[in-house]
Amino acid sequence: MRKRIMVGLLVALVATTMLFAQGAQERKGPSKTLEIFSWWTAGGEADGLQAMINEFNRQYPDIEIINATVAGGAGTNAKAVLATRMQGGNPPDTFQVHAGHELIDTWVVSGFMEPVTFILKDAGFMDKYPADVIDIISYNGEVYSIPVNIHRSNVMWYSPKLFAQFNLTPPKTIEDFFKVAEVFKANGIPALALGDNEIWAATHLLESVILANVGPDKYRDLWQGKVKWNDPQVRKGLTDYTKMMGYINRDHAALANMDAAGYVAEGKAAMNVMGDWAAGYYYSQGFKQGVDWDWAPAPGTTGSFIMLSDSFGLPKNAPNRDNVIKWLTLCASQAGQDAFNPIKGSIPSRIDGDRSKYDKYLNAAMDDFASNAIVASVAHGAAVSEPWLTRVNDIMSVFTTDLNVDKAIAEFQAAADRYAPKN
């Protein structure tokens, strides 16, 4: 009797598991869906994405969008989930990824992506993007993702109040920077706010300092492995960086990058080099441009624009390929980008955004984007692959502390030798 009960129980157990397995297999879903995978879970970026989704729904009311987000700083968690899904042959229809090498070296070279050049060509959008941008999102002559926005990395935020108080003007060159920094230091004010609790903020500062010393062409070559790290100008950049560390706030290692940007608006520090999402942060905190904060290109980088960009691509075997193409066409269009960017606080990657929709800072950024030399950001995955960037961040973590230029040069060079594109 007992045996019979036990056998019955076992059969029931096995049957239930099979039932679930059946369910999983049948979950194919109707073809009228589109899954968008991103780490935009909160704030302006989530609202911006929603605005773009609304626009999509207006154009294609019968396609249901599955907004699949994975929370977590800078997308680390999302990237881990994405890697599992891609490797397991279950790609989302489309996913958010930093344009440039983060996409190309991880997913394009390994053959997971379809080129999307035809989308831009079919819609007649090829000439709506600056050539430098097309270059950054391309691999072997094919475009692999549609950039929906552009952020600028080499921006110096400064406190007009503090500069007025000491009769100083915002520095245009590295030399000027050290002159004004000396004045602030003499008065007990940190000249440069840094919040490198997450070390990429230090890498972010370094890329501007290197650019200031080597100029845009050599900067590109450096991250292609064509310029050696012991080049005198590169060395000067690293040396300048170590000198800058003499003017930063004491609690830099405990601060997040936004806290450091906040120090400037609160008048606790004079300058900060951070991407232009800081402007969105200032607006959201009620700080006034021209009063609490203002901006200039990072010292020595006038005429250059370090860009980073979020983009969407087309994975091979995307379950709803036709819908992805519709989505990517929207992402590439003026309507889509002008829906997303004013809310996200970034500028369109196209050159023909509707100026009236953007605030004062973003309009100025659009001017520079249209006229400057555009180079890719290292700290945000556009210029280098993720393994390389991870290594660079590790080197920065020690370099920011021990300020040993020779050791850093050797380590940066070793990283470049290992990770730079081989050709």
């Binding site: 036990m6 881990a80 890697a83 991880t106 997450e198 609690d251 405990a254 393994p387 991870t390 502390t401």
Partner: protein, 297 residues
């Protein structure tokens, strides 16, 4: 006899699903990680080329990993020492019929109910160099400039930034060792203590010669539990400090996570996790061995 045999067969049948799941998903994947750690799988595409110990060699020559191992060892030693000594002290106070015992017991045990993530966020604020207890000291007129977990000083290889983490972790687990010791102390027969007292033993002598030897097995278990927590530590450091400037608060768990999921170096990540497993095994295996031997006897 027949019945027992049948029961045994049934037991095995019932255990088989569980065991096979266990072997596949725990031991199978450990073996798989071990295998990966000997390959060249350092990009998104699996590459099963055998490279021997290359990944391990790379790790042990990296400054970050050397710092990690040092951090782990120091952290483990201090964390265990503080929890055990402090936990015993607290439990002895409670055992000595302190007033309000049950209230105190709850208060000390309470931090254990938090997750390490919550603890980490709390103590990050407390030790934040500009706004935390430093600000408190400044209000009292001291010149508080100690950077806590952002300090990059080190003494004999010990990164002083770890102090903040050790305090946070000990704060959370001291109540746990206290509870374990308290259970042990309650198990000591009163007559034993009383007769010692009649023989003229002082309090110190009673603790040293009677209590400590009796609760030795408990100390041992506490060390095992604390040891494997601190050797695998990830969430506390991740939430509280991150890897810190120059890796002063970095641990192999953080390194593994970044190497694997940020840097796509699956083989190196696997190598780190195998080393972590090895460290934990160093603690657990002797314990299991002695327990099994005890059972057999």
């Amino acid at each position: 006899m027949y019945c027992a045999k049948k029961d045994r067969r049934l037991a095995i049948i019932i255990l088989i699903p569980m065991l096979s799941v266990l072997f596949l998903f725990v031991y199978g994947f450990i073996a798989w990680s071990l295998r990966i750690s000997f390959t060249d799988w350092n990009s998104i595409l699996p590459d099963m080329t055998w490279v021997g110990l290359d990944n391990y060699r790379m790790l042990f020559s990296s400054q970050r990993f050397q710092t990690d191992i040092r951090n782990t060892l120091y952290f483990t030693v201090f964390f265990m020492a503080i929890c055990i000594v402090g936990g015993f002290f607290l439990s002895y106070l409670l055992y000595s019929k302190l007033k309000g015992e049950s209230l105190l017991r709850t208060i000390y045990l309470f931090p254990l109910s938090l997750s390490f993530v919550v603890t980490g966020v709390l103590w990050r604020w407390i030790f934040s160099p500009e706004v935390g207890i430093n600000a408190l000291f400044r209000m009292m007129g001291f010149k508080a400039t100690f950077g806590w977990f952002t300090s990059t000083h080190s003494v004999a290889g010990f990164n002083v930034a770890l102090i903040a983490l050790i305090i946070a972790a000990s704060w959370q687990y001291m109540g746990y060792t206290m509870a374990m010791f308290l259970a042990g102390l309650r198990g000591i027969p009163d007559q034993l203590i009383e007769s010692a007292q009649m023989d003229g033993a002082g309090e110190a002598a009673i603790i040293w010669y009677i209590i400590l030897p009796i609760i030795k097995p408990i100390t041992f278990s506490a060390m095992i539990v604390l040891g494997h927590i601190s050797l695998k530590i990830f969430d506390l450091a991740y939430a509280m400090t991150g890897k810190g400037p120059a890796f002063v608060t970095d641990f192999p768990g953080l390194f593994m996570f970044e190497t694997t999921f940020r840097g796509n170096h699956y083989a190196e990540g696997a190598a780190i996790s195998i080393i972590m497993l090895f460290l934990v095994a160093l603690v657990i295996v002797p314990y299991l061995y002695s327990t099994l031997k005890g059972d057999a006897q």
